[in-house]
């Protein structure tokens, strides 16, 4: 993948800083100043790219939230299976009690 412009500017800033740190260099101050400017433009470009890249995140977030909600629903449905069985058991117990009462009445 080719390097972004912001990245290239930062690489240039690093090279210029290396030149600025050389004590034999006649243009130390100029190199340092240029390195700082490269950093400024690299920051500017990186922020511009970040702003442009903002689009699409909301859609992804919404899609992930929807998938989570659907999975949660499935989880509830699966838990309900046991609850439904328990409800049938309770109904049968009630029926048993009724039958016992009816049996007692009918003798």
């Amino acid at each position: 993948m080719s390097q972004s412009l912001a990245n290239q500017l930062m690489v240039l800033a690093t090279s210029l800083s290396a030149i600025a740190s050389d004590p034999d260099c006649q243009e130390q101050a100029r190199a340092s100043e240029l390195a700082d400017q490269c950093r400024s433009y690299a920051i500017k470009k990186a922020l511009k790219d970040l702003k442009e890249g903002e689009q699409g995140y909301a859609t992804i977030t919404a899609s992930l939230n929807a998938a989570t909600a659907a999975a949660d629903q499935a989880n509830q449905a699966l838990t309900d299976v046991a609850h439904k069985l328990a409800a049938v058991a309770a109904a049968l117990n009630l029926a048993a009690q009724l039958i016992a009462v009816i049996g007692g009445v009918l003798g």
């Binding site: 390195a35 690299a42 992804i60 999975a71 838990t79 046991a82 328990a86």
Partner: protein, 311 residues
């Protein structure tokens, strides 16, 4: 004699057999891989948040340094207006731009949504629904027993129902277990299939964005050091403490850049790990190579973020 139970006996036997065979064929979802995916994804979101906050802090430090740097002639009004003017652009001093929290916030919101999604997948994959079914079937069996006892006292012929009622409970248990396993797999498959494309896009976007956030970290810490140089004490004694402080900040910036690179690596492995979860639904024996790589990559990122926080 109650003939009904005899009439249905072969059918009941067949039902039991079908249900048991179905139960054997149903493969339980292996939960540990989903737990690993959930933990690593939560760590990814948390570490990204810490790194972005680190970049914001670097910007704050840069502004603070700007205030005390004589050549910048900055004042406190700059803080109130959102940035101390300390960047020379086209001969004019302007504030160094920062990634307003909202800009990074949309990325973090997406990562939080991803972490919640991974946690829900883990709940779906690891919840022991069968235990609930078993407990409920035991209740059902006891209730059927009660019903049978009540019926027997009222109608003596109902005693013959006894084998049928116990077989019925077994069938219900087996069918319900098969049902929950089937539904669990179906729900996981739907979630994993529906989100794969978005997870791939999220990964691609975050790789680029974390690269840009790393540029900010590099830029801010570089500017901080350049500015600090102006005030470096000439006295060698004082210089030792001053240099240590500045180098500490610089080291923080460098570690942050490394952390962001490690997060880029982790996020690059996310889509393949997610796809592997889907594949392993039908092939439970699949070696989870991609998931393992994702887990290792997030662990490495966490270690670097921890290192950064300790500075």
């Amino acid at each position: 004699m109650w003939r009904g139970s005899r009439r249905f006996a072969p059918l009941l036997g067949l039902l039991v057999l079908v249900a048991l065979l179905a139960g054997c064929a149903a493969s339980a979802v292996q939960g540990t891989k989903y737990t690993a995916f959930k933990d690593s994804t939560a760590a990814l979101a948390q570490d990204t948040r810490a790194s972005y906050e680190g970049v914001q802090n670097l910007w704050e430090d840069l502004n603070a340094e700007c205030l005390i740097t004589p050549s910048k002639r900055a004042n406190y009004q700059g803080i109130l207006s959102g940035g101390v003017p300390c960047d020379m652009i086209n001969g004019t001093l302007v504030p160094v731009e920062n990634p307003e929290s909202q800009l990074l916030g949309v990325r973090l919101q997406a990562l939080d949504a991803l972490a919640r999604y991974a946690a829900m997948l883990n709940i779906l994959a690891t919840t022991d629904y069968a235990a609930g079914v078993d407990a409920s079937t035991a209740k059902l069996s006891a209730s059927l027993g009660n019903l049978q006892t009540a019926l027997t006292s009222a109608v003596p012929a109902a005693a013959e129902l006894k084998p049928a009622t116990s077989a019925f409970s077994a069938v219900v248990a087996a069918v319900a277990q098969k049902y929950v396993e089937g539904k669990r797999k179906e729900a996981l498959r739907t979630a994993l299939t529906d989100t794969q494309k978005d997870i791939k896009t999220l990964s691609e976007k975050l790789i680029l964005d974390n690269g840009n956030v790393a540029i900010l970290a590099q830029g801010y810490s570089g500017k901080y050091v350049t500015m600090a140089e102006e005030q470096r004490p000439p006295d060698p004694e004082k210089r030792i403490a001053y240099d240590a402080k500045i180098l500490q900040k610089y080291k923080g910036g460098r570690t942050l850049v490394k952390a962001l690179a490690a997060l880029q690596d982790a996020v690059a492995r996310l889509p393949k790990a997610h796809a592997e979860l889907l594949k392993s639904l039908d092939e439970p024996g699949t070696p989870m190579v991609e998931l393992e790589a994702y887990v290792i990559a997030t662990e490495q990122a966490t270690a670097i973020v921890k290192q950064f926080k300790s500075l």
